[in-house]
C-alpha cells in the first residue's frame, strides 16, 4: 500500500504495529469506526480483543501491562465509550501502569456543539492521565502515537490518552511515518543517572546502621531492580518488606523477607518499621496506607528515599537522603561500595516477632477465605500470576499468597478499584498464555465486571476465577463492626446469584467449595482444567475480619493483631 493512499486510522494502526503492540482491547462505536476498519485493512501483528464493557477493556490492558511491563492499548468510541474508561485509566495512573487509550471523537467541526456522543474526554481525563492529546491534524497521528508510547513507558510510567476525531482518522494521510518528537520539556532520561554525592550520603547512613530495613515498592519492579535489590539485602543482611504492589520484586519466601507492611501488613513488618534505625525506600511513594500517622512513621530512623519521580520527595515523608533516580541505577551504584553489616541481633529480633505474631487463621467454625488462598498457594505455587479485586480477600491474598518474582502479583493499589481483578486476569492470561493465572475476587467486586466471563470463555483463556463469597462488602462491614458499633449499612449483598449457575450460562465449568475439608480436592480438580476458564466458588464465613490492622490515620505502633476487646474510636484517616 502506498503511503499516499492511506488514511489517518491506517497510519495509526501501522504506527502501533511498528511499535510492537501485540493486543488492542476495545469496544466499538460510531466515532471509532475508521480505526476499527483499519484493524481489518492494515496488515499487522496486532490482535484485537472485544470486551463487553469499556471498563473491562482498560482493566484487561492494565493486567496485560502489569504481567509484561509492556504498554497496553485500549480502543473505544467517543462519549459514553470514552467515559466508561475513566475508572480504568485512573487505576492505571494511580499504580503507574503504561497504557495508551485511543478514543474515537466527533468530527472536529462539531466539537463543543453538544453533538451526538460527544464528550470533552481531553478535558475530562486530564487529572487522571500522565498526558493526553486531542489530534487536530491527520498527519500528526504517527508523531502523537509514538510520543504517547514514549511517555507511557518512560520515567514513571502511566496512561496516555489520544482523542481522535472521526474526520481526522478518515482523512488522507500524507505525512511522515517516523517523525521527530515534539517534547522539549519531557526529559526522563536524566533520571537514569545518579548524583554521586547522594550516594555518598546514603552510604554514610547505611554503614552506621545496625537495624536497617529495605522497603521495596512497585518502582523497584518497574525499573527491573530485582537482582540489585537482592544483592543489597544479602550483602547487608538486611530484612526486606514490600508494599502491596511491590510484592514479588524481592522473593517473599526468602529468609530476609518480612512480607507486606502497612494497614494490613504482617505484624513483624510493621514492628520492624517502628524499630528500625534506617529505612531504605526503593521505589515506593509512602502511600498513606503504609505510613499511618505520618509524624510517627519511622520516628527514630534515618530514611533514604529512592524514586524516579521528584514530586514524591517530601510529599508524605521527609527523607534524610533523596535519590531522584530510577531504582536499578541507584541500587547498582550503592552496591558497588557497600560492605556487610552486623545485623544478627536485629534479625534475631525479627525472627522472634515472626514466631510471636505469625499470620494465622482458624480452621474451625466454617470455611475461611484465608484457607482457600493458603491452599491455593500450596496447589499453584509462587510462579502463578495472581490478580485480585479490592477488599478483605485482597488483603488476605496479599498476606497468604506469597509472591516470589516480579510481575506475578496484579492488584489495584492506589485507586482501590473493585471489579479490577477478573478483567485484569484476562489481560494477564493473554500476555502469558502458558502461565497459571488466578483471579481472586470477592462476591462484591466480581459482580462489577463479571460480564467479561464472555470474553474469557470466547478466547478459551484458562483463568482460574476464584469467587470468595461472604455475602458482604466485607471490608466496609469490618469497619462498621469495629468503629461504628456494628451498625451495618449498605454492605449486605442480599440477592447474589448462584455463581456456579452463572458460569454455566457462559459455558464455563465451576467447582463449589463449602467446607474446609473440600478445599484442596476442589482446587486440584479446578486447576487441572486447562482448556478454558474455570470458576471456583467458595462459600465463606460471613463475618471474619482482617488482622493485623492499623486503623486509618493511626500510628503503626497502634496496630491491632487481633479483634479489639474495647470500643474503638472512629478512625481519623479517610479509608
Amino acid at each position: 500500500m502506498d503511503t499516499q493512499e492511506i488514511d489517518g486510522a491506517q497510519a495509526l494502526i501501522k504506527t502501533l504495529d511498528n511499535l510492537g503492540v501485540e493486543y488492542i482491547f476495545g469496544y466499538s462505536g460510531g466515532a471509532a469506526i475508521p480505526i476499527f476498519d483499519a484493524l481489518v485493512t492494515v496488515k499487522s501483528n496486532i490482535k484485537f480483543i472485544l470486551a463487553r464493557h469499556e471498563q473491562g477493556c482498560c482493566h484487561m490492558a492494565d493486567g496485560y501491562a502489569r504481567a509484561t511491563g509492556k504498554p497496553a492499548v485500549v480502543l473505544v468510541t467517543s462519549g459514553p465509550g470514552a467515559g466508561n474508561t475513566i475508572t480504568g485509566i485512573m487505576t492505571a495512573q494511580m499504580d503507574s501502569v503504561p497504557m495508551i487509550i485511543l478514543c474515537g471523537q466527533q468530527v472536529t467541526w462539531m466539537l463543543g456543539k453538544d453533538a451526538f456522543q460527544e464528550a470533552d474526554i481531553f478535558g475530562i481525563t486530564m487529572p487522571v492521565v500522565k498526558h493526553n492529546y486531542l489530534v487536530k491534524d491527520t498527519n500528526e497521528i504517527p508523531r502523537v502515537a509514538r510520543e504517547a508510547h514514549h511517555i507511557a513507558t518512560s520515567g514513571r510510567p502511566g496512561p496516555v490518552l489520544i482523542d481522535l476525531p472521526k474526520d481526522i482518522t478518515q482523512g488522507p494521510f500524507t505525512g511522515d511515518m517516523d517523525p521527530e518528537f515534539d517534547l522539549p520539556g519531557y526529559q526522563p532520561e536524566k533520571f537514569y543517572s545518579v548524583d554521586a554525592s547522594d550516594i555518598d550520603h546514603a552510604l554514610q547512613l547505611i554503614h552506621k546502621a545496625s537495624k536497617p530495613l529495605i522497603l521495596a515498592g512497585h518502582g523497584a519492579m518497574i525499573s527491573g531492580a530485582d537482582a540489585e535489590l537482592k544483592e543489597l539485602a544479602e550483602t547487608l543482611r538486611c530484612p526486606v518488606t514490600s508494599t502491596l504492589l511491590g510484592k514479588g520484586v524481592f522473593p517473599e519466601e526468602h529468609e530476609l523477607s518480612v512480607g507486606m507492611l502497612g494497614m494490613h501488613g504482617t505484624a513483624y513488618a510493621n514492628k520492624a518499621v517502628c524499630d528500625c534505625d534506617l529505612l531504605i525506600n526503593v521505589g515506593s511513594r509512602f502511600d498513606d496506607r503504609i505510613i499511618g500517622q505520618a509524624d510517627k512513621f519511622c520516628a527514630g530512623a534515618k530514611i533514604i528515599h529512592i524514586d524516579i519521580d521528584p514530586s514524591e520527595m517530601n510529599k508524605m515523608i521527609t527523607p534524610d537522603v533523596r535519590i531522584v533516580s530510577d531504582a536499578k541505577s541507584a541500587l547498582a551504584e550503592i552496591n558497588k561500595r557497600i560492605s556487610g553489616l552486623d545485623t544478627e541481633p536485629w534479625l534475631a529480633q525479627i525472627e522472634s516477632w515472626k514466631k510471636k505474631f505469625p499470620l494465622s487463621y482458624r480452621k474451625q467454625g466454617g470455611l475461611r477465605m484465608q484457607q482457600v488462598i493458603d491452599e491455593m498457594y500450596q496447589v499453584a505455587g509462587g510462579d502463578a500470576i495472581v490478580t485480585t479485586d479490592v477488599g478483605q480477600h485482597q488483603m488476605w491474598a496479599a498476606q497468604f499468597y506469597k509472591t516470589n518474582a516480579s510481575w506475578k502479583w496484579i492488584s489495584s493499589g492506589g485507586a482501590g478499584t473493585m471489579g479490577f481483578g477478573f478483567p485484569a486476569a484476562i489481560g494477564a492470561q493473554l500476555a502469558c498464555p502458558d502461565e497459571t493465572v488466578i483471579s481472586i475476587s470477592g462476591d462484591g467486586g466480581f459482580q462489577m465486571t463479571l460480564f467479561e466471563l464472555a470474553t474469557a470463555a470466547l478466547h478459551k483463556l484458562p483463568v482460574k476465577i476464584v469467587v470468595l463469597n461472604n455475602h458482604y462488602l466485607g471490608m466496609v462491614r469490618q469497619w462498621q463492626e469495629l468503629f461504628f458499633e456494628d451498625r451495618k449499612s449498605g454492605v449486605d449483598l442480599e440477592g447474589n446469584p448462584d455463581f456456579c449457575k452463572l458460569a454455566a450460562a457462559y459455558g464455563i465449568p465451576s467447582f463449589n467449595i463449602k467446607r474446609p475439608a473440600d478445599v484442596r480436592k476442589q482446587l486440584e480438580k479446578a486447576f487441572a482444567v486447562k482448556d478454558g476458564p474455570v470458576l471456583i466458588h467458595a462459600e465463606c464465613v460471613k463475618t471474619d475480619n482482617v488482622f493485623p490492622m492499623i486503623p486509618a490515620g493511626a500510628a503503626l505502633e497502634d496496630m491491632l493483631t487481633e479483634p479489639p476487646k474495647h470500643k474503638m474510636a472512629k478512625p481519623t484517616g479517610s479509608t
Partner: protein, 178 residues
Amino acid sequence: MSLVTTDNPPEFFISEAPVHTLSVLVNNKAGVLMRICQVFARRGYNIDSLVVSQGRDKQFSRMTIGISGDPAGLEQIILQVTKLVDVIHCVEHDSDHSVVKELLLVKFLVDKEDRTEALQIIDHYDGKTVDLTPTSMIAMINGESSKIDASLAMFSQFEIIETVRTGKVVMARSEKPT
C-alpha cells in the same frame, strides 16, 4: 543567545514570603493552562494573579503566577507542575533577584476643577493619561505592586469607576534565565 531553553533551567527555591511569584515556561499548546490550574485547584490553592503570553519563540508560552499559601505545600505544587509533560520549567522568583512589575488601568470621574490634581498624581507615579473626556479619565500606572496600591489610594479621592490590573510579571535580573 536565547535564554528560552530546555536544558538551562533557573534555580529551584521556595521563598519564605507570604506571596510567591512563579514563572512557568510551557509548550504553547491547547489545554496547558488547564493542566496547570488543575494542579493548584486540586490542592485547594487559589491563584491570586495569572499572566500568560506567547514567548519570543512562539513554540513556548510564559506564565507568571502569583500565589499565596503554605510554603511547604508550594514545593509540592512546583514539583507537580514541573512534572507535566508540557512544562519546560516552573520556578519561584523573589524581588531581590528579579524585576517584578504590574500594570494598572484606572478609570475615574474627574471634572475640570480637579483635573490638574489628577494629572499631578499621575505624573508623580510616572503614569500616563490614556483616555480623557470632559468628565472622566483613564490613567495607566506601572511598577511594583506596592506602587500600584499606593497610587490607587491617591486616586480614591476621585470617584473610581473601575480598575483593571494585569497581575505581576517577573524577569530574572542579569543574564540568568527566568
